[in-house]
């Protein structure tokens, strides 16, 4: 199987958000940016002998939009020149609301970027502050308008829910604004207190109180129902899109397709093997400088691992998984009777209620 997705990690941000568990450093230095893009090209060259048929490129972060558009263009050009790339490919860039404006959008569009994922999180001023975001609701609205003007049709907005003291009403107000904007895709994440993040410590120390189970359950239902009735359908646990605007790149992650990740902390899945790069920028530069792949973690998947992953990832999707993957078939009927799952022909998928219990269910099915 050929590598279809290319993930490019840009580990730079203008500020570090307290909840974020992605690898990033706060840095504003064009020389380092250039050096990094250069290193990415060198890293890509190390994989020349892998089999590619690239359908998607995804610039994630960090905040890729801290880079001048020209650097993004540089890398895309390098890929075009050196790798096999499919027609009608998808190129996504993550952008933060107070970065690119009309002219930058025009520029990246000219390099081939055709999908935008904007890190908005919420339109509620109070919650933007509590999430440590350095932008206003207006920044996002201006950005969306500029992007549309520059010709972007495929725009996604991130939404975070489950902040301290957030009410269902506030969430509904957010959803109202989201659905009124000219966007095609929404990724909604429940605020998660990851270990080793400032938010994680605050929650542990009882300095930040996440809403209770019942509230967040209601929130998920509200989002799902609200978006469904406004033309966005849920194709994955955290992702809703208008028909035809699903993120092709992310779908590769959930459907067992091969992808290569480059840059600091990027993960790849190629030929039944998952491998991840060093999370340390200095070490990354160092290894690339020595002409070595910056791989730090490696996991060769057994057949059981593959089966487990297929269930774990497949159940996130609307279409579910093939029943033959499931060992404990007896429980499927129970799940269906309880309204947690659906059996249709040879597929098992989760309902809205079931999706919220996906971890529990996965451990019971395997």
């Amino acid at each position: 199987m050929k590598i279809k997705g290319l993930y490019v990690h840009i580990p730079f941000c203008s500020i570090k958000c307290p909840y974020c568990d992605f690898t990033s450093i706060v840095l504003n230095n064009n020389q380092v940016y250039e050096k990094y893009i250069d290193a990415l090209k060198k890293e890509l060259s190390l994989y020349k002998d892998f089999h590619f048929n690239i359908e998607t490129i995804y610039f994630g972060g960090g905040t890729p939009s801290v880079l001048p558009p020209k650097l993004i263009g540089d890398l895309i050009e390098f890929v075009y020149k050196n790798f096999k790339i499919k027609e009608n490919h998808e190129i996504t860039i993550e952008a933060n609301p107070n970065t690119y404006r009309y002219s930058q959008f025009k520029e990246i569009k000219s390099f081939g970027v055709n999908r935008l994922s904007i890190g908005n999180q919420t339109f509620n001023k109070k919650h933007l502050v509590s999430l440590g975001r350095n932008h206003t609701p207006e920044d996002t609205i201006n950005m969306v308008n500029d992007a549309v003007k520059a010709g972007f049709e495929n725009i996604s907005l991130d939404l975070i829910y489950g902040m301290e003291n957030q009410t269902l009403k506030e969430l509904e107000e957010d959803l109202n604004i989201y659905t009124s904007l000219p966007i095609k895709h929404i990724s909604a994440y429940m605020l998660t207190a990851y270990e080793d993040t400032p938010l994680g410590s605050m929650v542990l120390d009882n300095k930040y109180k996440l809403p209770d189970e019942e509230t967040t359950t209601q929130m998920f239902k509200l989002i799902d129902n609200y978006l469904e009735s406004n033309g966005f359908y849920r194709y994955e646990l955290s992702n809703w899109a208008k028909k035809g605007f699903e993120c092709k790149h992310n779908l590769f992650y959930w459907t067992d397709k091969y992808f290569l990740g480059i840059g600091v902390s990027a993960w790849s899945y190629v030929d039944g093997e998952r491998f991840g790069n060093t999370k340390n920028l200095t070490e990354y530069f160092d290894m690339i400088g020595k002409g070595k792949k910056p791989t730090k973690f490696r996991e060769i998947l057994s057949e059981e691992d593959k089966r487990f992953e297929k269930i774990m990832l497949g159940l996130r999707l609307k279409e579910g998984v093939n029943i033959n993957l499931i060992k404990n078939k007896e429980i499927l009927k129970d799940l269906q009777n309880e309204g947690l799952g659906k059996i249709k022909e040879n597929k098992f998928s989760l309902t809205q209620d079931g999706l919220m219990l996906i971890n529990q269910i996965v451990t019971r099915l395997f």
């Binding site: 967040t216 902390s265 998952r274 774990m312 947690l340 219990l357 529990q360 451990t363």
Partner: protein, 600 residues
């Protein structure tokens, strides 16, 4: 009487746990030169670690000592050790039956305790000569006068005869040995009569096979003798006779009056039953020694493998373990809730704890125990009477005429300030007072008839708490009595969990049912499906509770870099669930199966 018998004395030491029996025994052995200084371990008679840890003696042994008395004659003394716990009452009686006398050891700081008293009465019934010994007199809190008063009033012995001693400080040791020689009568018996040897203990030796500890009542035995065990008729050829000095030492022969061991390449320790008589197959005794009673388990419980232990692992461990524990019985049991395991029979609760602990510690077995139960007798409407060892096997109520349960007579000795607390406790346990007397100004002896089932769970602990550890307790089995008993089943989502069924008195059923259900709700985690817990009698629900299903997990993102971490997390969760037992579509943790123990 032959000259040989004149110089033999057979005796036991009667004592409460911790009253210093093992230390005193060590001193006696040392005095007689049976122990080299360098061989000394703390307490020689207790050979198992677990005994030493708990300060109790489980296995009996018999030591042969040579004592040169003040009369210048050398005597052969056989010290027969007795187990010190209520569960082993029958073994104690057989050890006493092998003796002509006993030292009654009383802790000068504690006074007479229930267990000592029970054993004392057994000894008296067997016409043993009793020598009271007041031990630990060197301790500052020793109250010799009080103990002397107890000896007079409770035991009816002459307190002037009591020897003041301290095993630890080595006080009174020679005086004790002289009293053994002068007061305890020599054994009777005729070495020319057919062989009659009383078995009072057994153990498994990897070289000798199952070994019997015996007192020769009549006749003689030596290597090559063809012996017959009179209760089963099984025959073996003796490979070795000998005595513990204290090491196992082969002898040419043993004759009437002697105490020692017989090995005969016996493979199964269960062939050697305590209380049975060994005779000469070629010249058998017409009658066995009276008083034989096959060891009978009093308490049953299910033992099931869990964690990484398989059924086969557990079977192997039980096989090996029971080689040295003839009292343990086990048979395969299949429980819909717990899978394949064993129904095990124990002499009592302590015995059960010991077995469980040794299987875990010495054999590395991970197991789950169901709540223990006594043996019930059920009289059916057809007139037939059956025994029930597992409450889930109780027949339909419509077929039952009556359920009978075993009663015990409990003796409790307590400082008088705790009498009120004990009376209240015993009343909760359906006890009926049968006796009340003061054994000195501050100490009372209470006697109760209590259903045995009531003392199974937490009686010991509650007694300890109620009396701050000052009361002592002993019991004797009485008979079966009809009771207003019902079977309570625990249903999970409408289905009976067989391993949780138990038999309870109707008056207590509601309270216990409620408590169990509440306890289970606490220990069963929320999960995908609602867990409905019900306590029912027949079809009547007497208590119920629900564990609400989970509503949601952590709904985290999962992109390319999250897959490995997420997988590890779920695998860990799955691993954690291995300690749960699947029941239908829900999962029950091990604690749920022990809820009954905490229901009072």
């Amino acid at each position: 009487m032959s000259d040989r018998l004149k110089y033999i004395r057979n005796f036991s030491i009667i004592a409460h746990v911790d009253h210093g029996k093992s230390t005193l025994a060590d001193r006696l052995m040392e005095f007689c030169g049976a122990v080299e200084e360098r061989e000394k371990k703390d307490q020689l008679l207790d050979s198992l670690d677990i005994e030493r840890e708990r300060g109790i003696t489980i296995k009996l042994q018999a030591v042969r000592l040579k004592y040169k008395a003040k009369d210048q004659n050398e005597y052969t003394l056989h010290l027969i050790d007795t187990p010190g716990h209520v569960d082993f009452g029958y073994e104690v009686s057989r050890s006493l039956a092998a003796c002509e006398g006993a030292l009654l050891l009383i802790d000068a700081t504690q006074g007479i305790e229930a267990q000592t008293l029970a054993t004392f009465w057994q000894a008296l019934n067997l016409d043993l000569e009793i020598i009271p010994v007041i031990n630990k007199i060197d301790l500052p809190s020793a109250d010799v006068d009080r103990i002397k008063q107890q000896i007079e009033e409770v035991l009816g012995l002459d307190s002037e005869e009591a020897i003041l001693a301290s095993g630890k400080a080595g006080i009174g040791i020679e005086e004790i040995l002289e009293a053994i020689v002068n007061k305890i009568p020599p054994p009777k018996g005729n070495e020319n009569e057919p062989l009659k040897a009383l078995i009072f203990d057994s153990y498994y030796d990897p070289y000798r096979g199952a070994v019997a500890f015996v007192r020769i009542m009549d006749g003689q035995v030596k290597k090559g003798t063809r012996i017959r065990l009179m209760s089963t008729g099984k025959e073996f050829d003796v490979t070795e006779v000998g005595a513990q000095m204290p090491k196992m030492t082969a002898l040419d022969e043993m004759k009437a009056g002697d105490v020692g061991y017989i090995a005969a390449s016996i493979k199964d320790v269960k062939d050697i039953r305590v209380g049975d008589t060994i005779t000469d197959a070629r010249n058998p005794a017409p009658q066995p020694i009276p008083g034989f009673r096959p060891a009978k388990p009093m308490v049953y419980a299910g033992l099931y493998p869990t964690g990484s232990t398989t059924f086969e692992d557990m079977r192997d461990a039980l096989e090996k373990y029971s080689i040295n524990d003839s009292a343990l019985t086990y048979e395969i049991e299949s429980s819909p809730a717990l899978g394949l395991g064993f129904r095990c029979g124990f002499l009592g609760l302590l015995h059960m704890e010991i077995v469980q602990e040794r299987l875990e510690r010495e054999y590395g077995i991970e197991l789950i125990t169901t709540a223990p139960n006594v043996i019930y007798k059920v009289r059916l409407k057809t007139g037939e009477e059956i025994e029930i060892r597992n409450p889930s096997q109780l027949p339909e109520p419509t077929k039952i005429d009556a359920i009978l349960e075993p009663y015990i007579e409990a003796s409790i000795i307590t400082p008088s300030e705790y009498i009120g607390a004990i009376m209240q406790l015993v009343q909760e346990k359906r006890g009926v007072q049968k006796g009340f007397e003061y054994i000195d100004q501050n100490t009372a002896l209470l006697r109760y008839e209590i259903p045995m089932a009531e003392v199974l769970f937490d009686f010991h602990d509650k007694l300890k708490t109620a009396t701050r550890g000052y009361a002592s307790f002993d019991y004797e089995l009485l008979d079966y009595k009809e009771g207003d008993l019902v079977k309570m089943d625990i249903l999970i989502n409408g289905e009976t969990v067989d391993a949780l069924s138990f038999i309870v008195h109707r008056d207590k059923a509601y309270r216990i049912g409620r408590n169990i259900v509440d306890k289970m709700r606490e220990v069963i985690p929320r999960q995908l499906f609602e867990v409905r817990i019900q306590a029912v009698i027949g079809s009547k629900v007497i208590a119920s509770a629900k564990v609400a299903p989970l509503r949601r997990d952590v709904l985290a993102k999962c992109y390319g870099g999250d897959v490995t971490r997420k997988k590890k997390l779920l695998e860990k969760q799955k691993e954690g669930k291995k300690r749960m037992k699947q029941f239908g579509k829900v999962e029950l943790p091990q604690e749920a199966f022990l809820s009954i123990l905490k229901a009072e």
